[in-house]
């Protein structure tokens, strides 16, 4: 009796979407992990797993900001880069003292997320008080500034301590020292400690955070402020505060995604996190559907893996990739397709209702 109550609750109207999201992630994890364990997966796909989870988390973070709170951010790659470089540096520093790779990974992801959230908070203070597209412009500038800054940072350590220089490489490390950030080349020689399991756990945590936020009092306030600022103000919602909450959580999740990303590659260049990367994340979110969490997970994973699946088309693959993007856009906005979709939904709705009536 109790069991069926739980099932009913999981699949009732309110929770169905959430349950589907979790199930997709867990289902994909079980299948892929089984393939990994039995060695039935190609080297290419093995390499794609972790970055894919990173992009899913980053896209979820951006969806929280764009879809839920209605603020267009073009700087989420900047938050990713903050998380990534913080994590890479910390991991390099801690490598000697903390030998348990998973524990180190978890610690640096948390710190990367915290640092990123702090920067999100700093930018949010002046900008979220404004209305309109100002956030988009400022986050875009922020992203460019972060990339230029990291491009000029030289940071390393040896047994005597940390060394830091800006613009010119003045590091004078002993032979046992290690350069953590080397200007335009970024971080290289990073120990790759990211794992697929940690990536999946990070997705699940993001889902829990986002869904709980959506269902909470604060989440209702965020959506109210998005839909009608004046109405929200009139019922006593502190619009700036609620938007700040969404923005900081979003920055933290993007930072965590960046941290996982940074520790998955042995080299990480600052130029990677430019404007294009932010746009890529936005493409994942828009094609997945603004505010649609499951859609974001699916679109991020499909669109990330797609260019690799198209390798057999050789030099045409980027053309085909962009054609597919345009195709998805057209189809998802097609009137006929939308009608069919609505029909499908009502038919299923009617079916469940008639069952209940019986």
């Amino acid at each position: 009796m109790k069991k069926s109550n739980l099932l009913n609750k999981l699949f009732d109207k309110q929770h169905k979407k959430q349950t589907v999201s979790y199930l997709i992630v867990i289902f994909a994890y079980v299948i892929l992990e089984a393939l990994l364990k039995t060695g039935n997966i190609s080297s290419l796909f093995k390499n794609l797993l972790v970055p894919c989870t990173c992009y899913i988390v980053a896209a979820l973070a951006l969806n929280l900001c764009v879809g839920l709170s209605g603020e267009l951010s073009l700087g989420h790659a900047g938050f990713m880069s903050i998380g990534a470089f913080t994590a890479v540096c910390l991991s390099g520093l801690l490598a000697g003292t903390l030998t348990n790779a998973v524990l180190r990974l978890v610690i640096v992801i948390i710190i990367g997320a915290a640092v990123s959230a702090f920067f999100g908070f700093l930018i949010g203070i002046p900008v979220l008080k404004l209305q309109g597209d100002y956030l988009a412009i400022v986050t875009l500038a922020f992203c460019q500034i972060i990339v230029s800054l990291i491009n000029n940072v030289y940071f390393g350590f040896d047994e005597k301590g940390l060394q830091f220089s800006f613009i010119e490489n003045k590091l004078n490390l002993s032979s046992s020292g290690k350069i953590l950030i080397g200007g335009p080349i970024g971080a290289s020689g990073t120990q790759r400690i990211s794992t697929f399991t940690v990536g999946i756990v990070l997705i699940i945590i993001s889902l829990i955070v986002i869904y709980n936020l959506m269902d909470s009092r604060n989440g209702r306030a965020i959506m109210a402020a998005r839909d009608n600022r004046i109405a929200a103000l009139s019922v006593g919602i502190d619009v700036t505060r609620t938007k700040m909450l969404a923005f900081v959580i979003s920055a933290a999740l993007a930072g965590a995604a960046g941290a996982l990303y940074g520790l998955n590659f042995s080299t990480l260049t600052p130029a990677k996190f430019g404007f294009n990367q932010s746009i890529l994340l936005l493409v994942y979110v828009v094609l997945g559907g603004l505010g649609n969490i499951t859609g974001t997970i699916i679109s991020a994973s499909v669109l990330y893996v797609l260019p690799e699946l198209l390798r057999s088309f050789e030099s045409y693959r980027m053309i085909i990739y962009s054609l597919v993007l345009i195709g998805i856009m057209l189809i998802s906005n097609n009137k006929f397709f939308k009608e069919k979709l609505a029909e499908l939904k009502t038919r299923r709705f009617n079916r469940t209702h008639s069952k209940e009536a019986e």
């Binding site: 290419l44 390499n47 490489n169 335009p184 290289s188 590659f265 042995s266 499909v302």
Partner: protein, 385 residues
Amino acid sequence: MKKLLVVLLSVFVVFGLVGCSGGSGGDEASPTIKLGGSGPLTGGAAVYGNDVFHAAELAVKEINEAEGFDFFDFKFEDDEADPEKAPNAYGVLKDWGMQVSIYTTTSGAGLAVVEDYFNDRIFAITPSGSNPGLVYNGSTNYDNCFQVCFTDPNQGVASADYIKNNALGEKVAIIYRSDDDYSTTVYQKFKDEAAKVGLDIVYEGSFIDTDSDYSAQLTAAQNAGADVVFLPIYYTPAAGILTQADAMGYAPVFFGIDGMDGILTLEGFDTALAEGVYLLTPFAADATDDKTVHFVTAFKEAYGGTPTQFGADAYDAVYAIYEACKAAGVDGTNSTEEICDALIGQFTSMTFDGLTGKATWAANGEVSKSPKAVIIENGVYVAAE
């Protein structure tokens, strides 16, 4: 609808996995060596990747014709010069069964896969990845990774020595690109060496990728009285600098490095402006020795256009692998690891005479060959003494 999506997605993923995992291993007994490599075939740096791809393909074709059977089977994957995509390209090549590799075209991509090559014991030699991190990292020597081109630090040192020894000028200005590892590394090494040999640097200016106006840097260099301007940059911004210097009537000696190669073929650039420009390059497409003439003619015939030094380096890389395989007596019937060990032994002991000069390799993977300085006269490269 959700259900449909899930089903579609699962089908998609499973097909992708199966499609990509097939074909690995396979024909062990064939004498054909599977030669792989990656480089940017799309994106901003595509010109380099395509040059490497075509030149290597040309070399493979020639070798296979000379041998009378397929000595090499060649596969080149796109890595977009992106450290994120390089492991994917590597994964594709590994699934295909790559036994020897011409590594990556660019340094950033190479740094992302160097550990993979090292751990998987696949012999790799990069035509044009000039970062030292591609062949060793501090105390770790990637013993199976080699370079055909000079490393960036060596180019900076050689340039400073050349300017000093040939007394090209008294006062030197440097204009470099601050968001590019290649440019900043050469710049710093040049500066260190200049201080050592007593070269007077009167101005240092920088720009970033998106800049297209260099008049501020040029005016400052002119005001500082520089009579040599060192340009450790690629040819596209260099063309802008030459054009703008000409417009403002500033005519010092311009000195470039291998990135300057290609400036004469740049579309829309008046080559008269490049008259008198020095550059340090291992390869000049207009040279008249038999090897260069043969390579350039064959390349033009097959792909159109003049090959740059990236192509020449790739051509050399394939021939060096070929000669080493012949000398060691290995072919595709040997395991990847056997080939790797045999080639390491050959490369550290042989002298290779290629398009880009006589080369020997140190155990750390760096090449040793003498840099050639050329000067542009009447629109062609002329060896500078």
